[in-house]
């Protein structure tokens, strides 16, 4: 299996991710000696439609992202015209989960692809809309 690439967001311009969680995840990544991409603030890059976001989603390697809520991350990439490849992304939430939980998943070669609640919602909504017609 192709090794997943790793992306770490430092959420530089807000206090929404606990500093200790950010620090511990970053330290865990460094300890792992793996190659990874780190960004100051994904939100800021999305607002600027930073071309780096397209670089990060291109290619056929799966992608693991340590940032915040998966729904937020998905639509931030989408807003920057850099769609996350379906079934090829795992998003780890540093706002909710502990670093000890995140780091092993982030550096593991196994991918647990993200399933978006909104995908399910919109599928069932579409189905019910279709059923109404």
């Amino acid at each position: 299996m192709t090794q997943p690439r790793i992306l770490y967001c430092h959420c530089a311009y807000a206090q929404v991710v606990h500093p200790q969680v950010k620090a511990d995840v970053l330290a865990g990544l460094v300890e792992s000696e793996k190659a990874f991409e780190a960004v100051g603030d994904l939100c800021e890059m999305s607002a600027r439609k930073d071309p780096a976001l397209q670089r990060l989603v291109s290619g056929d390697q799966p992608l693991k992202i340590a940032a915040c809520f998966p729904r937020a991350v998905k639509w931030l990439f989408d807003a920057a015209e850099a769609k996350l490849p379906e079934g090829q992304v795992e998003i780890l939430n540093m706002r909710e989960d502990a670093a000890e939980e995140i780091v092993p998943k982030l550096i593991s070669d196994e991918l647990n692809p993200q399933v978006f609640e909104s995908d399910e919602d919109s599928n069932s909504e579409t189905e019910s809309k279709e059923a109404e017609v």
Binding site: H10, C11, A12, Y13, A14, V16, A23, L26, A27, L29, V30, E31, E33, K34, A35, F36, E37, A38, V39, G40, D41, C43, E44, M45, S46, A47, R48, K49, D50, P51, A52, Q54, R55, G59, C68, F69, P70, R71, A72, V73, W75, L76, D78, A79, R95, F116, E117, S118, D119, D121, S122
Partner: protein
């Protein structure tokens, strides 16, 4: 925020052949410093491999090792990426404190005329298009030209940098809970999963007036005028400010609109004009969508 066409500097922390592996704590400290400064850093690990250029100029940082180190060669090379020339700079950071490394990066950023990060707090709405129904409530509500439509009359966040920092008000007028502010404190506005309760909640309904028991802009105007006339008679500015804040507390509590935004509302005339323009833009977009639907 600087122009979207101005690319940021891409920093590469190189630990491949000809470069030393940085000691762990030092690497964490250098990275944390650069990331806090808003930079993006590619950490190569021992392979030294770097993904393709993306149009941004590149600064390669590392600690030189041996004769053939990339850091002992030229400091700048031109390479071509998608028809564009990008500059690649090399800097040996051996023995440099993280603060000095940040200064080095910032200097190269200035030299290459790259985008300077950190000039704007990234606060803006993000639309969940799995939920959005293009009802245009947000377009008609926002006074600050944040929203617009694309060529197909679909809603889009046109001017994220015009959004008022910490103001999540438009997310509350969206009937489909489709507007996120990733840096907001609580869910579902912060991107957390939307549950049925959120959808049903009164403040999420289309009816803007349900938010505040009246038309929001009438209410804002009213408060603004009352405050203006009362405070023009006030001599003690500090006291006046306190009073004004107290007056706005309820409104703020109900809507989540921050004090700074309410305190800096435009004049009554400007509000009226902007509200009218926003409504017209929303109506035009809805009409265009309707026409397209009928044609199709």
């Amino acid at each position: 925020m600087s122009s979207a066409t101005q690319n940021p500097l891409r920093v590469v922390l190189y630990e491949g052949p000809g470069g030393k592996a940085l000691e762990s704590q030092r690497k964490v400290d250098v990275l944390a410093k650069l990331l806090k400064g808003g930079y993006q850093v590619t950490c190569t690990g021992e392979s030294g491999d770097v993904s393709a250029p993306d149009g941004s100029d590149v600064l390669v940082l590392g600690e030189a090792e041996g004769q053939d180190s990339p850091f002992s060669q030229s400091t700048s090379t031109g390479v071509v990426s998608e028809g564009e020339e990008v500059e690649v700079h090399f800097k040996d950071i051996s023995g440099q404190e993280p603060e000095t490394v940040l200064e080095t990066v910032s200097e190269v950023g200035t030299q290459t005329e790259s985008y300077t990060p950190g000039e704007w707090k990234p606060w803006f709405p993000v639309i969940d298009f799995h939920r959005c129904t293009n009802c245009m409530q947000c377009l008609s509500f926002c006074l600050f030209d944040v929203y617009g439509v694309d060529a197909e009359s679909n809603i889009q966040v046109k001017n994220p940098d015009k959004c008022k920092t910490n103001c999540p008000a438009c997310s509350r007028v969206c009937p489909d809970v489709a507007i996120l502010f990733p840096k907001y404190g609580s869910g579902p506005i912060n991107g957390d999963v939307v549950n049925q309760e959120d959808v049903n909640r009164e403040k999420m309904k289309v009816d803007i007036s349900a938010l505040l028991g009246g038309n929001i802009y009438d209410l804002l105007r009213d408060r603004h005028e009352k405050a203006a006339s009362r405070f023009s008679k006030e001599r003690d500015e500090g006291k006046a400010l306190k009073e004004r804040i107290r007056c706005l507390k309820k409104l703020q509590g109900d809507s989540g609109i921050p004090e700074e935004v309410l305190m800096s509302l435009p004049s009554m005339d400007e509000i009226q004009t902007k509200a009218k323009q926003a409504k017209e833009a929303a109506d035009a977009a809805l009409k265009a969508r309707e026409e397209r639907k009928n044609e199709g």
